[in-house]
Assembly symmetry: C2
């Protein structure tokens, strides 16, 4: 199982429109990607607090897609990459950190 993590670093002076992200961008993204073979799930989160207590979260937002394999994700994403990446300026000017993960434990 592969998890694709899209992490938006907390950046001074940057903007992140959660209304647009949660009500427009992510529903579109999920609608397009969840139709594809191998889609297993998705989670979208808002960074609330860091450690130690009182420190800001390192990431203002995170999104995690779960697919059977990285190949399944790429096949799902590539046909829509321009549309989805082109929508990003509508909610943020932060460059996300993206990585592929092998899921070792899940329960």
């Amino acid at each position: 199982m592969t998890k694709i993590s899209i992490l938006y670093p907390t950046t001074t002076g940057a903007r992140f429109d959660f209304d647009y992200y949660v009500q427009r961008h992510m529903p579109l993204s999920i609608d397009l990607l969840s139709r594809h073979r191998g889609f297993k799930g998705v989670s979208v989160e808002r960074g609330v607090a860091g450690v130690p207590p009182g420190s800001p979260a390192a990431f203002v937002a995170m999104c995690h897609f779960l697919f059977e394999s990285a190949e399944d994700f790429m096949e799902a994403f590539m046909p829509h990459s321009e549309r989805l990446q082109g929508d990003m300026p509508n909610y943020t000017d932060i460059e996300p950190v993206i990585q592929f993960n092998e899921v070792l434990i899940s329960r």
Copy 2:
């Protein structure tokens, strides 16, 4: 719903013993925390690749605990914090990035 993310940044020259982490530390951690009220799930991952292709993953490993609330997690974790944090040098010398997240979408 609250997700607690523990992210280990990829660090040149650092060590991370996945055998110990996956076979000893995380099973102990899950055993202790999953007994508590509000535990909803856990995921443990190994960073495989970054974006653009060929770049390393920003995080060598990630762990995400899902709890009903941050309070439930703290109540579950605090009685075992010394034991669990004291076990960390057995698998890594990387200081993790830890943050609390509000789950906005989950499916």
